[in-house]
């Protein structure tokens, strides 16, 4: 119930790449074989632990269809993290990444952590985009990268958790303004009590963790 931090995520990418499936696998540990087209946006949430701290993830799964693009844009600004998903068995979804990235960069706050995800890694036989290509794209644009399978759950946890770790590190570095909720980060009730010593105490805490 009580959490140290709350992060807001969005999941973006072409229709049918498996955004909703990734979320479902992460929150419910289930897979949905039928494409249930997302209309607008759907919400999901889960608690994770990083560095011994409870972190609540609130995730907005957006619709990939072109017609919902303007609705999707309303979610960029308030998000701390974004999972940008393509389908490794459909090259066009990979080719559209640039457009997605431009859109995201234009409408989000500049610190938003973006995780690039090549989904459906279980369908190796139908692969159209090499892993190296994904890696190269990520490197070129300063993103974190991972191949996942919402079907087998491979790397799904890692994708969400690693994104959170990156955000967490940015907080430790003081890059994020945690007191501005518009950045998609909120300090939880666990922290709120020691809020006054937060900036000073944070580094010390971190050092303490390091020596243990």
């Amino acid at each position: 119930m009580a959490y140290a931090y709350l992060f807001k995520y969005i999941i973006i990418g072409d229709t049918g790449v498996g955004k909703s499936c990734l979320l479902l696998q992460f929150t419910d540990k289930r897979f949905q074989p039928v494409h249930d087209l997302t209309i607008g946006v759907e919400f999901g949430a889960r608690m994770i632990t990083i560095d011994g701290k409870q972190i609540k993830l609130q995730i907005w799964d957006t619709a990939g269809q072109e017609s919902f693009r303007s609705i999707t844009r309303s979610y960029y600004r308030g998000a701390a993290g974004a999972l940008l998903v393509y389908d490794i068995t459909r090259r066009d979804t990979f080719n559209h990444l640039t457009t997605w990235l431009e859109d995201a960069r234009q409408h989000s706050n500049s610190n938003m952590v973006i995780m690039l995800i090549g989904n459906k890694s279980d369908l190796e036989s139908r692969r159209e985009v090499k892993k190296e290509e994904g890696e190269a794209f990520a490197r070129e644009h300063g993103l974190i990268f991972m191949e996942t399978s919402a079907k087998t759950a491979s790397n799904v946890e890692e994708a969400f958790i690693n994104t959170a770790k990156e955000i967490y590190e940015k907080i430790q570095e003081g890059v994020f303004d945690i007191n501005n909720e518009a950045n998609g980060i909120k300090i939880g009730p666990q922290h709120a009590a020691t809020n006054s010593t937060l900036t000073g105490g944070q580094g010390g805490q971190q050092a303490g963790g390091g020596c243990c």
């Binding site: 807001k8 607008g40 946006v41 309303s74 979610y75 909720e181």
Partner: protein, 964 residues
């Protein structure tokens, strides 16, 4: 445009021609004046005319005003006037007050309206038309949105009002435009953060309009932290004690959550349910219930209900119910339930809310059953509520709410059903206090039809899907008038049905009979014993057939339909245990007395009733008037289920029936076969499960084994390393650096040893020669009296050799110990590996294990090989040791020889000494002889020689003296 002319025509009588002209002039000035002040004055003048000449200003000035918004954006004053004017023409003030009460679309006409209404509608139409014109250009709305970012009060406030008015008139279109404009919704959300209350409050109204019926916008607003902000405002404003702002916040929250499962999930996940709990801390301190407070609380209760509505997905409702119990919200609501002085409609809504918070949730239902009213003696809340339900003086809606609460308490609650029925059973009845059962029976047979209906339906819910309770309730006997035997509850219900007219009742006769018939149908469906019970009384079937066949009036039709249903149940759930009333006989009776077609038609009256479908929609009993209280939601489900099967059952001929009977028999056979198969499947299932478990344990064993293997591998590696280190050490010990091969090593060592031996031998030989030399020396000495000091060095040399040997021996010993340690460890590893191999033998049939075994045996082989190596090493070590021992013995021999030699040396030394002594004596003798010869006057030829011998030590001095 036709429309405008029409309206203008209608109003022209009121509008002065001078007004129109003035407006035209002002418009010209706005359009053409180059001076800002001029334009500003003109717009201000238009504003002042815009209420009185709404139509004219709107028609003539709108475009000019929009242009002002576009071009004069730097002057907030003129912007403010323009926005105000636009607001005035789009929305008349009077209308604004009215609109709140009416949720429907602004344009709505059905009845013939009164003159004022016509006027109002016309004005609404004007607003709609003007707003349509305004939004024809979507950029105008976007422009307005940017205007809202202007902090200046004179711009922001009228901007908010104008946008709200536009949303009211053209909701969907404006919503669409805002949705596609970047950050549109987000900007509007910022209004809630405005420190000026007017703007924040009007911002709330704007957001209410914005979120109406648009799920996409609702979600974005929620994403923009609306829940947090609204809950904060509610808290700041004093929750239920707060003013209209609280109400507006609550209305907006309702907009965001109603029928929006995504937002509901977000609300729950954001732990906002917990934040609702303090809202209901009103307790007994009802210092006053202002109208605003009642409204606020009402909306708060509605919000709770939205989260746990029976129409939500069961999983979502269940998790919210759980949260509401865990955070104490349910407990808080129950406190209100039992508090005094709570206004009736709040109490009613609280009961409805509690109902939905507990519905189908065992934990919450159990808690509810444990709640006591603070009366003396304390009574269960359920009993107190039921008292209200069967009390005619209580408001109708309250009684309905109690019924709903009772239904929700029993919904999917077998435990609760049992507890309620138990209060009626002879064995468990408690005569000292009022029980739920007593109240229900009292209600069932009271003179108030509403109580009859409610009690019947409530009792029916105690039997819903619960065969045990249906059978238990058959045991209930009622004492009637004195002297007469007790009568069963079931029979008493039919008695009231058949004698209905004899008792004078308040309310509707139909209501009572419908209630009782629904109870009987629920009770007897799926319960052959209850059917037999019913048929056992000879009067019951004739009563039903009479009711069905009679030609009764419109309002009796429903009763007829229900009687047909009950008779149908008597056929369908008949176990043929009563000879007079077998299925067959009952069907013949229908054919003879009623006619099949007629029967089916009467049966159809139920679902055709106008109130049926409304009751089928949702579980809550909500009726517009007491006389509409006829159908229970659960009962409509039963009808749906039975209508078809009963129709079929009645239509079947006896032959068909027989055939069916046969089919049934074969089916039964099939059934038994199926049962057998099922049994088999079950067994196999069990086996599978067992195997699965085995598999599990084996897998974990496998994992364990793998772990052990990994450990062993690392141990082996360690051993290898140690072994190598030993090898190295060994190599170094032998004076050689890194010789890899064992054999080579041994050879080298042997060579070394041999060399050593050789060395020793050489030393020995040397000693021997020395000895020999000494011998000769002694001999010489003996002969000449000359000594050799060389032999004395032999002793220290020997000691060194001994020391060296000693240390070598020590090293050999420690190495031997290390090797045996290694051997022991190896032994341990081997036994463990063997144990593992034994375990894996059990799982021989599993390929995984086989694979594992293979790896294990490979491992064992490796271990064996290593062991072998160690063994051979040990052997060679032993051999070396032998050699070393041999060397040692040689050394010992040498030592003895050496000591012998030493002894000899000592002896020879002694001899030497003796000889020296002898020599000295002889010298003395010679000297004395010389002296004597001198004394005798004899010359000595050898004097020099003798002197030199004599003064051995002072030899040099002598010589020096001689030189001088």
């Amino acid at each position: 445009m036709n429309f405008f002319r029409g309206v203008i025509g209608g109003q022209q009588a009121g509008a002065q021609p001078s007004g129109v002209e003035t407006i035209q002039k002002l418009c010209d000035r706005v359009a053409s004046s180059t001076l800002l002040e001029d334009r500003r004055d003109a717009v201000r003048a238009l504003k002042s005319l815009s209420k009185k000449y709404r139509m004219e200003v709107g028609t003539q000035a709108m475009d000019h005003l929009i242009r002002i918004l576009q071009t004069d954006s730097s002057d907030s004053e003129i912007l403010g006037y323009a926005l105000d004017t636009l607001y005035n023409i789009i929305c008349s003030d009077e209308e604004e007050e009215q609109d709140e009460s009416e949720d429907a679309a602004p344009v709505k006409s059905k009845n013939v309206a009164a003159p004022e209404d016509t006027q109002r509608r016309q004005e609404d139409d004007i607003g709609a038309q003007f707003s349509e014109r305004f939004i024809q250009e979507p950029e105008n709305v976007t422009l307005l949105l940017t205007m809202l970012e202007e902090f200046d009060f004179h711009v922001r406030w009228p901007g908010v009002k104008l946008l709200t008015a536009l949303l009211k008139c053209q909701c969907a279109q404006v919503q669409g435009i805002i949705l596609v404009s970047p950050m549109g919704v987000s900007r509007l959300m910022d209004l809630l953060a405005d420190s000026r209350e007017v703007i924040r409050n009007d911002g709330l109204l704007l957001l209410q309009q914005l979120t109406k019926g648009n799920a996409a916008i609702q979600k974005i607003v929620a994403f923009e932290n609306a829940f947090e902000r609204l809950l904060d405002i509610i808290t700041e404003e004093g929750t239920s004690d707060g003013g209209i702002v609280v109400e507006d916040c609550l209305l907006l929250l309702l907009n965001l959550l109603k029928n929006n499962s995504s937002n509901q999930n977000f609300f729950k996940e954001g732990s906002y349910i917990q934040r609702m709990k303090p809202w209901f801390e009103v307790g007994d301190d009802n210092s006053g219930w202002s109208a605003q407070k009642v409204t606020n609380l009402h909306l708060m209760l509605q919000l709770v209900r939205v989260m746990v509505s029976p129409v939500n997905s069961p999983g979502a409702t269940a998790s919210c119910q759980k949260a509401m119990f865990q955070c104490g919200l349910l407990q808080q609501l129950c406190t209100i339930l039992m508090a005094t002085g709570v206004p009736a409609d709040i109490l009613t809504e609280t009961i409805n809310t509690v109902s939905e918070v507990i519905r189908g949730s065992q934990v919450n239902q159990d808690y509810f059953a444990s709640v006591n009213a603070p009366s003396n003696p304390p009574r269960p809340a359920i009993v107190v509520l039921l008292m209200s339900m069967v009390n005619e003086r209580q408001p109708f809606v309250l009684r309905c709410a109690v019924l709903y609460c009772f239904q929700c308490f029993l919904y999917k609650n077998q435990k609760g059903q049992g507890e309620i029925v138990a209060t009626l059973l002879p064995s468990t009845i408690d005569a000292n206090s009022i029980s739920a059962g007593q109240l229900l029976c009292g209600g069932l047979f009271s003179a108030d039809s509403l109580s009859n209906w409610c009690a019947a339906v409530a009792l029916g819910h105690a039997l819903q899907d619960n065969l045990t309770q249906k059978e238990q309730l058959l045991r209930v006997q009622l004492a009637t008038s004195l002297g007469k035997p007790p009568v069963s509850l079931l029979q008493q219900c039919t008695n009231i049905l058949s004698q209905g007219d004899k008792i004078s009742r308040r309310g509707s006769k139909v209501q009572t009979r419908v209630g009782l018939l629904m109870l009987l149908c629920t009770w007897m469906s799926n319960c052959p014993i209850a059917v037999t019970h019913f048929l056992h009384n000879q009067d019951n079937v004739p009563f039903l057939t009479a009711q069905i066949s009679e030609n009764l009036g419109e309002d009796e039709r429903l009763v007829q339909g229900l009687c047909a249903l009950l008779l149908g149940i008597c056929i369908y759930y008949n176990d043929n245990s009563l000879e007079n009333y077998t299925k067959e006989k009952l069907k013949q009776l229908i054919e003879k007395r009623i006619g099949k077609e007629n029967f089916v038609e009467k049966l159809g009256f139920i679902t055709k009733h106008e109130l049926y479908s409304r009751a089928a929609q949702k579980p809550q009993p909500a009726f517009s008037a007491p006389e509409h209280m006829l159908f229970d939601h659960e009962f409509t489900k039963l009808v749906k289920e039975l209508e078809g099967v009963i129709t079929k059952a009645v239509h079947k001929s006896s032959e068909e029936e027989k055939k069916e009977e046969e089919v049934k028999k074969t089916l039964e056979q099939h059934d038994s076969i199926v049962t057998q198969y099922k049994e088999l499947i079950r067994e196999q299932d069990a086996q599978i499960n067992e195997l699965k478990e085995q598999m599990c344990t084996l897998t974990s064993q496998k994992d364990q084994m793998q772990n052990t293997i990994t450990q062993q591998l690392s141990q082996i590696q360690q051993h290898k390393d140690q072994y190598n280190v030993l090898k190295l050490k060994l190599g170094k010990d032998s004076g050689q650096s890194d010789s890899g091969q064992v054999n080579g090593l041994q050879l080298e060592e042997l060579t070394l040893l041999r060399e050593e031996l050789e060395e020793l031998r050489k030393q020995h030989a040397l000693l021997n020669t020395q000895l020999a030399e000494r011998d000769t020396l002694i001999a010489n000495l003996k002969a000449e009296g000359v000594q050799s000091p060389d032999g004395l060095t032999a002793a220290p040399e020997n000691t060194e050799l001994l020391k060296e040997l000693e240390s070598l021996r020590g090293q050999v010993q420690t190495q031997a110990a290390e090797i045996s340690q290694l051997q022991r460890e190896r032994q341990e590893v081997q036994t463990r590996t063997e144990a593992l191999a034994a375990v894996s033998g059990e799982a021989a049939d599993l390929t995984k294990v086989t694979e594992l075994e293979n790896r294990l045996s490979a491992q064992t082989a490796e271990t064996n090989r290593l062991q072998e190596e160690v063994r051979s090493l040990t052997e060679s070590r032993a051999a070396m040791e032998k050699e070393r021992a041999a060397a040692t013995s040689t050394a010992t021999i040498l030592q003895t020889e050496k000591s012998k030699l030493q002894q000899e040396v000592a002896e020879s030394k002694k001899e030497q000494d003796d000889l020296l002594m002898l020599l000295a004596d002889q010298d003395q003798k010679i000297l004395s002889l010389k002296q004597r010869l001198k004394d005798l006057g004899e010359t000595i030829e050898d004097e020099d020689d003798l002197d030199a011998r004599d003064q051995f030590d002072d030899d040099d001095d002598e010589e020096e003296e001689d030189d001088e």
